[in-house]
């Protein structure tokens, strides 16, 4: 049994894309435990030497669900954030964010802590409120190498209220840009990252799911 199953549904894209849809409030949520990214792995000597691992990675857990309607796949996230940060602020604040990470190839040889390697890259789906519901698709060949692809087929809706972010990120199962494609019945692994922008978290200064989690699209 996979850790996370993307349930098959007949609901429409419009319904599933709505982060306030009843679909997302009724199902079973998976709790992803998050940990601070290790400073030892930071490509920046400055961050490594001057940041405090205990003071970053404030998002300790994500509640999430996934489903697909045989055409598109959707991920729903919910996490606590006392105050929303919508954009790159003037005074040391950054946008809140959440991201999905997927291995392109053999997950055993793709280290999540390093966002992949030269030979075993990863695909990131990166949501931020200032991306105006068009999350970025990115490819990484190891730490410090992630690059946005020119095109991104990702879409999203989001809402912050009462100290809670609710975000849905969706995409067609198959896309043309460099990204991991899906099909019903497929099994792979998945990882997550989240940033508390009010705490100055950005880049590698974040919380992440530490290990790959098994992920399956219901046939």
């Amino acid at each position: 049994m996979a850790n996370i199953v993307s349930q098959k549904t007949t609901k429409s894209k419009n319904e599933l894309l709505d982060c306030k849809s009843s679909y997302w409030s009724q199902g079973n949520r998976f709790t992803v435990e998050m940990a601070t990214t290790p400073l030892a792995n930071q490509p920046s000597p400055y961050i490594k030497a001057t940041y405090d691992e205990n003071a970053i990675g404030l998002i300790k857990e994500l509640k999430m669900m996934s489903c697909h309607n045989s055409e598109q796949v959707f991920f729903y996230f919910e996490w606590k954030s006392e105050t929303p940060n919508f954009e790159i602020g003037n005074i040391g604040t950054f946008p809140d964010a959440v991201a999905i990470l997927l291995p392109f190839k053999d997950s055993e040889k793709t280290p999540i802590k390093e966002m992949g390697t030269k030979d075993f890259p990863t695909n990131g789906w990166y949501w931020r409120p200032d991306f105006e519901e068009k999350p970025k698709n990115q490819v990484a060949h190891g730490l410090a190498t992630s690059i946005y692809t020119k095109d991104s087929s990702l879409f999203s809706t989001s809402k912050w209220e009462n100290g809670l972010w609710k975000v849905v990120i969706g995409r067609s199962l198959k896309v043309n840009e460099e990204a991991v494609n899906f099909e019903p019945g497929m099994k792979t692994v998945i990882g997550f990252a989240a940033w508390e922008g009010g705490n100055g978290e950005r880049g590698g200064v974040k919380a992440f799911s530490k290990e790959w989690l098994e992920f399956e699209l219901q046939a």
């Binding site: 792995n41 920046s44 000597p45 961050i47 030497a49 001057t50 940041y51 790159i88 003037n90």
Partner: protein, 378 residues
């Protein structure tokens, strides 16, 4: 806080070595351009600032940036109180270890916004009814700017003093910004050592703004990337000196190759040792150097000149330029005395700069002679 290297896994050690090698590569240069500014000549006219602004920072989120600025010393500078914002390195074991120092992220208001004026209100009202008033981008009243404390200076009458300090990016040999960027977006150009930001790699994390101890990197809130002085490298590539240097009416600035023994920069920095980096204790090894300001003697309490003390306190100059400043001023005083007595001084000839173009060798091309038609620009 800091990582305990003894607790790292083998893979983490391997990664750390890879990252160190990458940063070494990003700092590597074949040649290093440098600039010397003579603070005895700067009159604070800001022509350098305007030349830079016109060329590089008038559009698209750059309006509030001053890649070149002239601050008044002593003063809070810009961004306000930048000398208290940290960054740079603690240099240990004779330069073998550079320990990064946490810095503060400067805000747009601390730099000073590009003010908007109520021109319409003034022009379309009865004379005197509406006064000209600047506003920040967010509608608030400005309380800081690029040279807000102009001519305020320090000391007390009759020994009050001030001088100007033009500032650009120091294009350091050990740029804290290069080390800070987790994206490896900042690097030194191999061909001339200018520190630049790869605008494609930059994701706007602003660690570079934190780490730069001189606080000369700006954030473009529209493009969402960091931007900074590029030492006018596109001009240098055409043999034309930096806009700030060429525009300077006071013949304050020399531009050239730091390690070329025939260059005037080399003579001022390495031979005569009268050009010094600003705040050398920040540990980044700047490639912009300053000839420190001489000053008249202090007046004692009886109103008489005390030739043993200069108006600008040595303590303050040591704070800015390090302990070498005393020797530098000594050398200049001796060479001036030599000339007063009818002798010749290579140093004084260089500092007087009778031949303007020689200040920029080998970058002596007149930009007006270049073909700058749009079709010729690649």
């Amino acid at each position: 806080m800091a990582i305990d290297d003894s607790k790292l896994t083998d893979r983490e050690k391997e990664l750390a070595n890879e990252f160190t090698a990458t940063k070494d590569q990003l700092r590597k240069v074949d040649k290093q351009v440098a600039m010397v500014m003579d603070l005895n000549k700067c009159v604070g006219c800001q022509l350098c600032s305007m030349a830079c602004k016109t060329l590089w920072t008038s559009l698209e989120g750059r309006e509030y940036m001053w890649w070149n600025k002239v601050n008044t010393q002593p003063g809070k500078g810009s961004p306000k109180d930048w000398e208290r914002m940290g960054g740079g390195y603690k240099v240990l074991f004779g330069g073998k270890v550079r320990d990064p120092v946490r810095g503060k992220l400067p805000t747009k208001k601390e730099f000073g916004d590009m003010w908007k004026y109520n021109w319409d209100g003034v022009v379309n009202s009865k004379a005197g009814d509406v006064h000209l008033q600047p506003k920040n981008d967010d509608g608030t009243e400005p309380d800081w700017g690029m040279n807000w404390d102009e001519d305020q200076g320090g000391g007390e009458y009759p020994n009050a003093f001030y001088f100007y300090l033009p500032r650009i990016c120091n294009h350091c040999a050990y740029p804290a910004c290069v080390d800070a960027c987790p994206r490896n977006a900042l690097y030194k150009r191999e061909e001339d050592g200018a520190v630049v930001v790869d605008q494609e790699r930059c994701k706007g994390y602003r660690f570079c703004l934190e780490a730069c101890p001189y606080k000369v990197i700006y954030f473009n809130f529209i493009k969402k990337v960091s931007m900074k002085c590029i030492f006018c490298y596109p001009r240098l590539e055409q043999g034309v000196p930096n806009a700030c240097a060429r525009q300077c009416t006071g013949r304050v600035r020399w531009v050239g190759m730091r390690d070329e023994p025939n260059s005037l920069i080399y003579k001022l920095v390495k031979v005569w040792k009268v050009a010094l980096p600003l705040h050398p204790e920040y540990g980044t090894e700047p490639n912009v150097f300053y000839v420190p300001p001489l000053s008249p003697p202090r007046l004692d309490e009886n109103g008489k000149l005390d030739p043993s003390k200069a108006r600008i306190p040595m303590k303050y100059l040591r704070y800015l330029f390090g302990p070498e400043v005393e020797n530098a001023l000594d050398t200049m005083n001796k060479e001036m005395e030599k000339v007063r007595k009818g002798g010749k001084s290579e140093l004084m000839e260089i500092l007087i700069a009778r031949e303007w173009k020689k200040m920029f060798e080998p970058f002596t091309t007149d930009p007006a002679t270049l073909d700058r038609k749009p079709s010729s620009i690649k």
